[in-house]
Amino acid sequence: MAAPSAGQQRYFNVMATGQIESGRFEGNSSLYCRYVFSCGEDWSVMCGVEEGITQMASSSGSTANGSVVWNFPIDATFRSTCPHGWPQLVLSVYGEDYFGRPDMILGYGAVHLPLTPGRHRVTVRTFRPLASSLLGRLQSWLNGMRPEFIESLFPAKGEGREATSPCICSPRPALFSTTSFGSVSLVLDVAIQGMEQLGYAVPPPRAEGVRLIDPLAATIS
């Protein structure tokens, strides 16, 4: 990539590195987590992996708090012209249910990448959808098929959370119900390049971290 000259650059870059550190879902021993980055129309992924699945991890007796360690690295760089649609990390955690049936959804979560450069420790509490009717809930409990979001990026969207769409089990639209359980811990390091040059006031770094500087300014100094 050629070093952009000052005054010409129309975009800024956001680099996010870090890890999906661990999950805490009491009573569930072996879990895996899937992550996807969701960002707005103006955004593009410059490099890095925007989607991934962790290993199947189980907690051992040695960890006192019952959390499951994934230690799964994340590394992605985004480019945009406008902060609207700031990238979000969407997580979905799967594991076994009470009967030992595998691949059951335990929780969805979403979090915006921090807008302040530096290191951030984020805890994401997760939720999962419930069937809209009592009959549907009984059915999903019996045949071991929990409701899931068809669209995997749904947790990153704010629209359509008011009510469920009518179906055979519940012909009238009902409140869109979820149940929340468990949490995922993340460590995210964010570096932002070129935003100040576009006139944006970037919040100052919270902790010591990398602050990328304009490559051209670096060569001059």
Binding site: H84, G85, G109, L115, T116, F127, R161, T178, S180
Partner: protein, 173 residues
């Protein structure tokens, strides 16, 4: 023209009468603020957490304003509703928060109207709580003095603000 971005999440609610909650939110801004992108109102899903745990909404907010002046800085208006085991919705609390100018975690304490003694007796035996007829009272600071309210729970949010071009007008903050 300067620009303002509000990016964040309604994280959840805690401390209400029941713990199955949902929240209707809207953001009101003065005439100096023109919305360019994003939604200014919405409703979260209804979360049914385990006992003694806060409700999780994780509802994303992402707004983009163009602003001509500082008057009428956006206000976030919250209306929390509780749901009982029969699916009946009841007011949990009202809250209002001027969009902070700093990033990070914020908490909004909420309140709800008490009503008259007669209304309190009625709601004790029959359920249902008084609600406000005029929503403007939630965010205005003029007509509050006649209102009797009681404490409700708290809503936590994580908001971050990014401004563009305010430095050109010699504004810091």
């Amino acid at each position: 023209m300067a620009e303002l971005h509000v990016v964040g999440q309604l994280l959840g609610g805690d401390g209400f009468q029941r713990n199955s909650l949902f929240c209707k939110w809207s953001i009101d801004a003065g005439p100096n603020f023109r919305l360019l992108q994003g939604h200014t109102s919405g409703q979260t899903h209804c979360d049914h957490p385990n006992e003694d745990e806060p409700a999780v909404w994780a509802h994303p907010l992402d707004l983009h304003y163009a602003l001509k002046g500082f008057d009428g800085w956006p206000k976030l208006i919250l209306e929390v509703w509780t749901v009982d085991q029969f699916g009946r919705c009841e007011l949990g609390g009202y809250g209002c928060c001027v969009v902070p100018t700093s990033s990070g975690m914020h908490e909004v304490q909420t309140w709800r109207p008490c009503g008259t003694l007669r209304e309190q007796i009625t709601s004790f035996f029959l359920g249902g709580v008084p609600t406000l007829k005029h929503r403007e009272v939630i965010s205005s600071s003029f007509d509050r003095f006649r209102l009797h309210t009681e404490t409700a729970g708290a809503v936590s949010l994580r908001l971050c603000i990014v401004t563009k071009g305010l430095g050109r007008y010699r504004v810091t903050g």
